[in-house]
Point group: C3
Chain length 336, copies 3
Amino acid sequence: MKHFLGLFDFSPDELDRLVALARRLKSGEAGDEARAIRGRIFGMVFFNPSLRTRSSSEAAMLRFGGHALTLSVGGDAWRLEHRDGAVMDGDRAEHVREAAAVLGRYCDVLGVRTFAQMHDAAEDAADTVLQTFAKYAGVPVVSLESAVEHSCQGMADMMTLAEKLGPTPGKRFVLTWAPHVKGLPMAVPHSAMLAAAAAGMNVTIAHPPGYELGEAFLDRAQQWCAAAGASLAVTDDQRTACRDADAVYAKSWGNPAMYGDPDAQKDDFRRHADWMIGPRHLGKPTTVLMHCLPVRRNVVIADSAMDDPRCAVIDQAENRLWTQAAVLSTMLSKIQ
Amino acid sequence: MKHFLGLFDFSPDELDRLVALARRLKSGEAGDEARAIRGRIFGMVFFNPSLRTRSSSEAAMLRFGGHALTLSVGGDAWRLEHRDGAVMDGDRAEHVREAAAVLGRYCDVLGVRTFAQMHDAAEDAADTVLQTFAKYAGVPVVSLESAVEHSCQGMADMMTLAEKLGPTPGKRFVLTWAPHVKGLPMAVPHSAMLAAAAAGMNVTIAHPPGYELGEAFLDRAQQWCAAAGASLAVTDDQRTACRDADAVYAKSWGNPAMYGDPDAQKDDFRRHADWMIGPRHLGKPTTVLMHCLPVRRNVVIADSAMDDPRCAVIDQAENRLWTQAAVLSTMLSKIQ
Amino acid sequence: MKHFLGLFDFSPDELDRLVALARRLKSGEAGDEARAIRGRIFGMVFFNPSLRTRSSSEAAMLRFGGHALTLSVGGDAWRLEHRDGAVMDGDRAEHVREAAAVLGRYCDVLGVRTFAQMHDAAEDAADTVLQTFAKYAGVPVVSLESAVEHSCQGMADMMTLAEKLGPTPGKRFVLTWAPHVKGLPMAVPHSAMLAAAAAGMNVTIAHPPGYELGEAFLDRAQQWCAAAGASLAVTDDQRTACRDADAVYAKSWGNPAMYGDPDAQKDDFRRHADWMIGPRHLGKPTTVLMHCLPVRRNVVIADSAMDDPRCAVIDQAENRLWTQAAVLSTMLSKIQ
């Protein structure tokens, strides 16, 4: 494993081994398996703010004897250019080529957080900032959420499914869209869908018309489901989809046709306000409710569902720590 | 000791034991008594900026083999909602319930800094943000200054009084109001007053009419003074109060009747400009001058008093490090 | 060595010994020579943003078992006053006297980054913020770039020259001005010039009329060159200067006569747009191209030169880590 940029780049077996390692680290049985972290420096570059990602990553390093170093671009440091050949006479004082290469000399592994711009779906799909970092860093790079995937979140989701449901193959996973106050990127739903597919679950994606996820990610999830003998379906009937779900994953994302038109997007959220998740979407006494956080209570998920004992969001968030320790120690064990 | 939210919640004896431990840690005799810090993570959430609190807390952990992790809400992370039942369709992207619970999974102990809003004295008195964190964190919580107390500062004040004055019972402590450029919270004067009362000193609070401190805090200080056979008095005669003081604690705070009216507050500061502390307020060759810092020179305290050898503000600030190490190690020694 | 505020304060021999130590640390032969860093805390105060300086300094401490603690003034902490006798009724909530003294109680060594204000050349030359920190800190202070020098960068430059050129005495160093989008301070060119002079190189400074560097720095460099039997020349003929250079150091800086007049400065940059560095300025197959970073590609240096194998900017940046470790361990070895 050179970089960890997206679940997309791995096989379900590889992801499964990472989850197994994360679970051993969490149980405390296998601290020594993370010894590659000891004394190493994880440098993180945040183009966008973070609460869980930054603190879980720092904790993952510190818990196993490593160090973390964080930079906020535009805050601690200046803005970065990433386009080849740019005449840099604007507000971007440094190119990613130099920034990545330099940080790669100071750190053993780098992390990058960069959100989709949501102006142009094709440009977002190219995931240029993350890919440019990986190309020039000279050391392994971990995505801390990019324009197309939130791969660390996806790993924590896959671990949480295994913890809560036991053997996952054949169980029913529903990823349901929910309303919000603004259009959000598709990185989290892409990774959650891939995580469930890698876990061999029967996957249903429920969203109103127009909110189709990225085709490449749908195709990959479809392949993984098929290989596991499971199904993948897309529907706009949220209630039916949730009825027998073993896990309901709530998440809002934006309509690509409304990128750049926040008023249209807001109207559409209002039109679909009844997609807000409540206890009625948890069809069984054992149905697990998931969300990546941060969640807007009573907009995305009602208080009554958030405060239900079936809500697993805090465990999901904790699992960020253990899966990231698994990813980082695996990457670091490959280098001197 | 589950949480450390305010001096108010402890007994003078408990506070005294913490000061004694802090002094042993400072003298270097008792590093091993802070061994509970080793390998632990102190996660700090700052809703407001900080110089001393953040750096002394980080240093307290690092000096004894622990780690610190800091988040600036609104800077590194988004703004947080703390009201129950809120429909979160505004600018607050996450609820304290989730943020506190998640950070409690990554860290062994959490710290929270949150200033009084100073719109509504009753709302400030409820200290909701800190209390919500403590309720949902799942791990011990330390106040790094809240709407009602600056308890870590109060501990450093109590330690400094003991260092500078020797046995404190019966000695004279004057907390005197001073002018400023804007109305400030009462957290520091509340904790300083409780610290001196816990130390068994004769306490005098001097301020112009209208600047009354919180009744609950006055009552508690009064009880502690009485139990020690000492007195507590409130006066608007600053000069007489300071005449025989062993320690003069200068501090500005706002007039609750002027919350939300900065012009009235400024006028009132101008009217009481002669309350600025100078050498004339240090009545004896041994009188100690205290202030929590940051201090506005020549507004709150004159240069001639700040630069007087009786000024103890740098020692006070240093003692933040040792008292916080005492508090943190005591809390951490109670958990596995 | 009490403080490390500028190359100006040292002798070429002292700087040479620091470079030699840095090279031993980089080669991995001499980790034990940095043992004074172990367990120590380096507190850094940033009045201006940073990418390389902050992360290389943190890495220098962490790699050798120390700790780093960083504060952004105006970000994490409030703005600081540095003028003696100021009535602090404006936006600066704390004086450097207190801030420096307090941080000196928490940390073993302090670093300060403060840029030239570029309103008044004489005021910048006094370097007041850094000097005030050094005066009141009570512990050693390292400049992380001040109004007059970027001394850590200068050390990395001196190390890079030694690495790339072998014995440096008598070799040809050209510091050439380049255009930009705004007037920048002279701190980097001052330190680069001193570094080359301390290395005993024949130094040429090329810039358009009006961009004269600080006289005190030119004089000091002239003395060092003369003592080594080398020359120092200033010219406005960039092409001739670069023709036989062993090292070309590109850097933009502002015209003091245009401080406060960004439009005039921009016009002047446009007038001298042909000073942008390209491969044609690298006269020999072995000429090394240097720049402190961040660099604006295709404004200061063309892509074709940045991407040339003779470009040493990433090595230069890496050497920040090793020279800072050398400086810090040398300072810390002098104190208990």
